[in-house]
Structure formats: C-alpha cells, structure tokens
C-alpha cells in the first residue's frame, strides 16, 4: 500500500439553513477543500461520499452523484457509502483505500446533510422486523433513553454525579466557542446545564447533541502528488472500519445475549484498536482525540474503553482540565458534537478536518500545542464504527 496524504480540508459551518440545499452545503465544503489543496475539480479522479438517509442523493443515497453533477460532470467514478452516523468515516476509509491501492492519485471525500427536526427517529414505517421500531413501540425507548440507561449504569459503577455529567458539556462549550464552524458558540455555566430540561434522566438537554445541517470535504492524494502540491502534508497513519461483535452486551434490538464481559460498544473499540495498531502508535502517543459525543456519557466512557485512561478515571481527567486542548489527553478540541450537532453523514469528515487543522497548527485559540498525532472515531446505527489516525 502507498502512503496517503490529506492535502485539502473544507467545511460548511454547522447550523440550521432553511434556505440552502444539501448541494449548496457540499459545494461550499468541496470548493474550500479544493482551494486548500490547490487542486482543480477537473483533476479529481474519484469521489467517495457518505450516503445520507435524510437528505439529497436523489432519495436513494446517491449523494456523491449529486456532488459530481453540482461540481461538473466529468464522468469520474463515485462511491456512495452508507453506515448511519459512521458514513463519513466509512467514506474516508474507501477514499484512503483508493489512493493507497494505487488506483487513483487524487480523491475527494465528502459528506453533507440536512437533518429533520428533533432527535433522530425511526424510518417512520411501522415495520415489526425493525428493532428500532420495536424498541420504541413496545418499550417506549427513544435514542436518548438508551444513552441514559448506559449513563445510569456508569453512575452506579463509578459514582459519576449529575454535576460531573454537566461539567462535560460546560467543557465542550468552553472549547467550541473558539470554533468558527461550530453551531453553538456560547459558553454555558454548570448551573445552566443542570437547569436545562431533563430529557431522559439522568441526561439533560444540553448534555445531548441536537441535529444540525452541515458538510465537510477532504482531498486525499499519493505521496508523490503531496510533495508537488504542499509543504505541510498531513499523513494518514491508519484508517479502520469495524462492526459490532456478537457478545458485547449493548442491546441493539429488544434482547440478546447477556454479556460475558464489560458492556461497551465493541465496534468502536475494535476500530480504534485496529487504527492504533495500523499506525504503530500507542495511546500515549496520541496528542488529541476527536470522538463521537452524541451525549456527555461517551466523552467519559470511550477513553476508558479504548485504554486511554483507567476505568472510572475519566471524570477526574475532565475535572482537572486534562481533556482541554492544553491538557495531557485533549478530547474534542473542535467542541465535538455537543457544539456542532449531528449532521450524521458529514461528521466523520469534520473530525478529519479538525485533526488536519490541529496537526498543521492552524486551530487558533483551540490549538493543541505541538500536536503530532490525532485519532478520530465515529459510531453508527447497525453496529458500524470507524477510526482514523493522522500524523504530521
């Protein structure tokens, strides 16, 4: 396999844009990434696109085709990748593979989405073979309640308090306020978070990420092209995709096997372990982590599940400032999903953009000092996860 560089990063800011189409959002992100890379649209040899369930794509998830039509129909191959909220990371993995394999030298990876209102819902069909439908109709358990149940167990196991959960949200906004692409750029006090409506006890409104509209794009290329085109390439040290293992104890449907070990998202752990191994780095070598914080729970649980700290230690690291950009384990210096909101298929790519800017030293007030290695992770419906390690 060949070395692959990320030479272009582009984003449309996250928010709610009633008068813009998903194509409008993608065009802004793609044009920014092309300009950043110094590449013209006609030079792009293939597109790997995150396939959206909610918007664009001609209703069939053909989002990459929409982007090619929008930018100019050059006849290049398009790969539309569907993996729920992990689709952006999945599209990155295929874009990486296309360049690493030697098939193409210049590849665009793109994800853009306009989300429907409210928390993410089922397909809308009363389909009794759909585990999501069964869970909501028979038990009355929407997504946030599922996270709340994981969170309640953490409180039991490690003594996590409601104040500590709220402090994770406070911390996210202290960082995210510096990110011009984030949707929510105000700071919250601990009291404001604790006074926000309880959605599903123990989780409150400001502790759960909302849905947003947004788009992000990156340009990948071979080492040879990177040398010609940029003086500050960022290298893909590893890109990994994984699915859930049979016995991990997370109830993805109504019921299943009681776990034989700890209950965790095995797909995320597998993807991260695979990426770290592929990159030849250990947890101590990673200077920043962008993880999928749909809720504050994940910012505490994931670093422990992946061996970045001991079980039950995450609250202490957060409270002593170690997960801030200037700490010893910077987590979500972008502000994370809590500040961006979920534009499900685009988010794996906003993470790559953030890592790229951090490794190039261009992240301004949220810069992780001397960042050399970054890890990003996504998690999607159906037991999908991705992880990518970038290095300077």
């Amino acid at each position: 396999m060949r070395d692959v560089a990320v030479i272009g990063l582009g984003m449309h800011p996250w928010g709610k844009f009633a008068d813009k189409s998903v194509n409008d959002l993608c065009r802004v992100a793609v044009e920014a990434a092309l300009k950043d890379a110094g590449v013209s649209w006609r030079e792009i040899e293939a597109v790997s696109a995150a396939s959206s369930r909610f918007s664009g794509g001609k209703g069939w998830g053909l989002n990459g085709n929409d982007v090619v039509e929008e930018m100019g129909s050059t006849g290049i191959p398009v790969y539309n990748l569907s993996a729920g909220c992990a689709a952006g990371g999945n599209a990155f993995n295929i874009g990486y593979t296309l360049v690493a394999s030697g098939l193409y030298d210049l590849v665009l990876v793109v994800g853009g989405e306009k989300m429907p209102k409210g928390f993410i819902q089922t397909s809308g069909l009363e389909e009794t073979t759909d585990p999501e439908f069964l869970r909501q109709r028979c038990v009355g358990m929407p997504g946030p309640a599922f996270w709340a149940s994981l969170c309640w167990r953490r409180m039991k196991d490690y003594g996590t308090t409601e104040e500590q959960l709220a402090k994770v949200a406070v911390k996210a906004h202290q960082v995210g306020k510096h990110n011009e692409n984030a949707r929510f750029r105000q700071e919250f006090t601990l009291e404001q978070v604790l006074k926000s409506n309880v959605v599903s006890y123990p989780l409150r409104l400001y502790e759960i990420c909302p849905v947003s509209d947004g788009a992000a794009a990156v340009i990948l290329c071979s080492a040879e092209q990177a040398k010609k085109r940029t003086s500050k390439p960022v290298w893909v040290a590893a890109s990994a995709v994984a699915t859930a293992s049979f016995d991990d104890g997370i109830t993805r449907g109504l019921g299943g096997l009681g776990p034989s070990g700890p209950t965790l998202h095995s797909e995320a752990k597998l993807a991260v372990e695979k990426a770290l191994k592929g990159a030849g780095v250990g947890q101590k070598d990673v200077d920043l982590v962008e993880l999928q914080d749909n809720t504050v729970y994940y910012e505490l649980a994931f670093p422990e599940e992946w061996g970045f700290c001991k079980p039950g230690e995450a609250e202490h690291l957060m409270e002593t400032g170690e997960t801030m950009p200037t700490g010893k384990l910077p987590i979500n210096p972008s502000g994370g999903f809590l500040c961006f909101g979920e534009a499900t298929t685009a988010q794996g790519l906003f993470q790559v953009c953030e890592m790229g800017w951090q490794l190039r030293g261009e992240a301004g007030a949220r810069q992780v000092p001397n960042a050399r290695v970054g890890l990003a992770q996504t998690l999607g419906l159906g037991g999908n996860a991705t992880a990518v390690v970038l290095k300077r």
Partner: protein, 138 residues
C-alpha cells in the same frame, strides 16, 4: 374491555405465568428475542434454533426515565406521565429491554431484582387496551 398485544407473538400468559417468546440455539445456547430463524453466534458450530420462553425473574442492569413526551412511534395515554424503562438480565441468560412497572420512579436502582408482568401500555381511540411486557421490582 377489549385488549390486544402491542405486537403479536412477543409474549404470552402461560400456565406458569407471563413469558417472553423467543428462541434459543440448541448447539450454543444463545438466546434470541424476538425469535430468530438462525443462530448469529460466530463461534457456534451448528445453528439449531428452537422456540424458547424467557422469564420471569431477573435483575435490572440499568434504567432510564423518559422525562418528556416522546415522538411517534412511541405511544402513551394522555396526559403524558414520566415512566421508567431499563435493561434487564433475566436469570435464563437473556438480556432484554423493558418498561419498569412502578409508581415510585425514585425507588428504582440498578441491580434490583425484578419479575416479568404483562400490563397495559396505552389505550386506542376505541378504548382497546394495548398490552406489553414490563418488569416489576420484587
């Protein structure tokens, strides 16, 4: 009053009491709820699926309280009242989601022993009572 199950075939009131209706693999003992046509255990030598009934005793692994009126496809009787649901580890090896039957939400704790019950979930416009499985602290 007319009653009906929320989804047909998921549970039954048997002579021994309420049970969840699923299946189990005779080769590797993996439990499935709802029923599965094949065994999904990658370590299983041979898929041998048989009907199985689960319950009634178990332990609450964790819980959540639905604090706001959820959107469809969740259904509830108006006016909305917060309710509890959780993850239950049944003694027979099935880990299953379920509503928790209690009027005292504050009394609930992870690791509490619970038992399976069949109770109303909501009422349809014509008054039909819709039944689901729940877990009652014991």
């Amino acid at each position: 009053m007319e009653t009906k199950p929320v989804i047909a075939g998921l549970f039954a009131d048997t002579p021994q009491g309420p049970r969840l209706l699923g299946s189990r693999c005779a080769s590797c003992a993996a439990p499935y709820f709802p029923k599965s046509a094949v065994c999904h255990n990658p370590k299983c030598g041979e898929s041998k699926i048989q009907d199985a009934a689960f319950g009634p005793r178990g332990r609450l692994w964790s819980l959540a309280i639905q604090s706001y009126a959820p959107p469809p496809p969740v259904k509830f009787d108006e006016p909305f009242k917060p309710y509890a649901m959780g993850v239950v580890d049944l003694d027979d090896g099935l880990r299953v989601l379920g509503r928790i039957s209690t009027d005292d939400l504050r009394s609930l704790r992870p690791d509490m022993p619970v038992e399976l019950v069949l109770e109303p979930l909501y009422h349809e416009a014509d008054g039909t009572e819709v039944i689901t499985w729940k877990f009652r602290p014991v």
